[in-house]
Symmetry: C2
Subunit: 160 residues, 2 copies
Amino acid sequence: MFEEVPAEMSEMRSPTRRRERVAAAPVAPVLADRLRAHGLRPTRQRVDLLHVLQAKGDRHVSAEVVYDEALRSGVSVSLATVYNTLKQFTEAGLLAELAVSGAKSFFDTRVDRHHHFYVEGEGAMIDLDLDDVRIERLPEPPAGMEVVGYDVVVRLRRKA
Amino acid sequence: MFEEVPAEMSEMRSPTRRRERVAAAPVAPVLADRLRAHGLRPTRQRVDLLHVLQAKGDRHVSAEVVYDEALRSGVSVSLATVYNTLKQFTEAGLLAELAVSGAKSFFDTRVDRHHHFYVEGEGAMIDLDLDDVRIERLPEPPAGMEVVGYDVVVRLRRKA
DNA sequence: ATCATTGCAAACGTTTTGCATTACA
DNA sequence: TGTAATGCAAAACGTTTGCAATGAT
C-alpha cells in the first residue's frame, strides 16, 4: 500500500442503527424532487442511496462505505449500482469527486465551494469553510484558458 | 470512466527516440549518487528508471507511462518493479505522489513545494511556481494538529 | 558470502460492462 | 408501452505479493 486510507475519511462510523426502508420514509418525496431537479429519475435505489448519503451530514465516502451502509440500513442495492449511481450523482452535481492520492475514489457529499484539511498519515479529510482560506494572488491562466476556481488543501500533522 | 485521464498528464508524448542503454550512459554515476544520497542502493533498474523519469524534465506520470517509456528506451524492467520502485522513490523523497481524482496513482517528478493548474475535462496538470499563488489567511488547525503546508489547485477550463 | 532487489505470475481490490430483467413515466 | 435503470456475474484494470533467481556490496 502506498498509504493507509480509512474506509470513511472524516469520521468514525457511528453505531449501527436499525432503520425503516428509507424509500418509504417521509423524506422520500423531498429526495425525489432533488433528483428530478438534477435531471435524474427518482428510482428506488437512487432515492435510497441519496438518503444514505445525506443521513449523516457532510462527509467523504467511498463506494464501499456507501454500499455497506445501504445494506446495513436495509436498502437493497448491488455494488455495481452503487458505483454507477455515485458516478451519475457526481455528473449531476449531487456529489463531488475528491482528489486524494492513492488508488481509490472518494466522494464529497458537500458540493458547495469549500476547502479541506488533510491529515497526513491518516488520510482523513476535514471540511474547511471558504472564508477560512483566502488567496491573495491568483496566477495568470495559460492562453486560451480561464480560471474556474481553486481548491486548497491544508496539510496537517498530528502533534507529537 | 469517471473522467478521461490521459496516460501522461502534462504533456504529449514526443516522437519515439532510440537511445543507448541508459545504465551505460555517462549520467549513470550521478544518478547512482543521487540514489545513495536518498538511502537507496543504485541497482541497474533504479538507475535506469530514475533516468527515464528525469529525461524529460518535470512531469506527472503514471506507473504505466514509466513502464512504457522504459521499454521503449531499451530498459528492461518488469511492471511490478516499476510499481515498487515508484513507491520506494516516493518514500525516499525522489518523487511526490499527486492527489488527483480517480482511481489511478500519479507521481510528480518535481518534489519542491509548488502548486498546480488542473485542466478540467482533460485531466492535465501544469506546474505552478510557488510565487504565483499566495495565501492570505490560513485557518487555525484543529486541536492537537499543526499545519505542515498547503497545496493549491487552480482549476482551468478551455475557453470556448 | 550475504542480504537486498528483481522478475514473474498469481492474487487482490476497485471499477466497469454486457445483457437479461424490472420499474418508472 | 417504451425506455431508462437495475442486478448480477464476469471482465477489465491498477496494484501488490510470494518466492525463487539474481545482483550489489
